[in-house]
Symmetry: C2
Subunit: 146 residues, 2 copies
């Protein structure tokens, strides 16, 4: 198990707590924290952020990696159920913020580009009003508890 | 553990063996088979395909999922080492072929868009000549064995 160097010199936004926004927090899981993605053009898009700093899957100990993937799986199932998704997409990039975080995107029946990764779909970001965001977060939380 | 229905009626290209191409096979790992992606615009882009048919991470038993993620991790480390990558990207979509497969993309120093997911980068696909493809496959195999 190795600690990866923090990106941007010492300042990692995930470690500093400046990203994701606290208001988007859905739940604390075993190894990570689940947040609603700011852009809700794809409804339910969430981000699971490892609680400690590491960059690659191979930087984690096997047990830790296993628990993280159980978090990913638990969150993915909750998103599928909460939004009656046809498919879930899972992506771990870290190109902008090289602190392990998974994009978990339920792909719904009305998806505008069901055959494409969301990253290939140009669109204007949709930021929800606070009450709509809270409703969406509550819906996911409810499914995580089942 | 549930078996997901095969996509496209009975015909799943991964189960039928029509995709990925046998010539692109790099190695058999514990739960999946690693292939070189046909498009090598991003050098080293590989695809790890689960040997049996399943669609979502939550369709797998925990032990099987754990072994699959160890395969992903082993392959990602080999790709990082083989190409001296700055970062590895990991993506499990299944939008076109809903049979679990991971895109593993080493992001190199000369990457044309290092801050973007590769899926957002429009480009003409680069298909290698057979001897160049074989050389690339051999380079990854060598790293997998270490």
């Amino acid at each position: 198990m190795t600690e990866s160097p923090a990106p941007y010199g010492a300042a990692c936004p995930a470690c500093e707590g400046s990203w994701p926004a606290a208001a988007d927090r859905i739940a604390e899981l075993s190894e990570g924290t689940l947040y609603l993605h700011t852009d809700q053009f794809f409804p339910g898009w969430s981000v699971l952020v490892l609680r400690r700093h590491a960059t690659e899957l191979f930087d984690l100990a096997r047990d830790e990696r296993g628990r993280l993937v159980e978090d990913v799986t638990h969150a993915a199932r909750a998103l599928k159920e909460a939004f009656d998704a046809r498919k879930v997409n899972y992506a771990l990039f870290g190109n902008l913020v090289p602190h392990i975080h998974w994009h978990l995107i339920p792909r719904l029946a009305g998806d505008p580009a069901p055959r494409e990764p969301v990253f290939a779909v140009r669109h204007d970001a949709i930021e929800l009003r606070p009450d709509d965001r809270a409703e969406r977060i509550a819906r996911i939380r409810d499914r995580l508890r089942r």
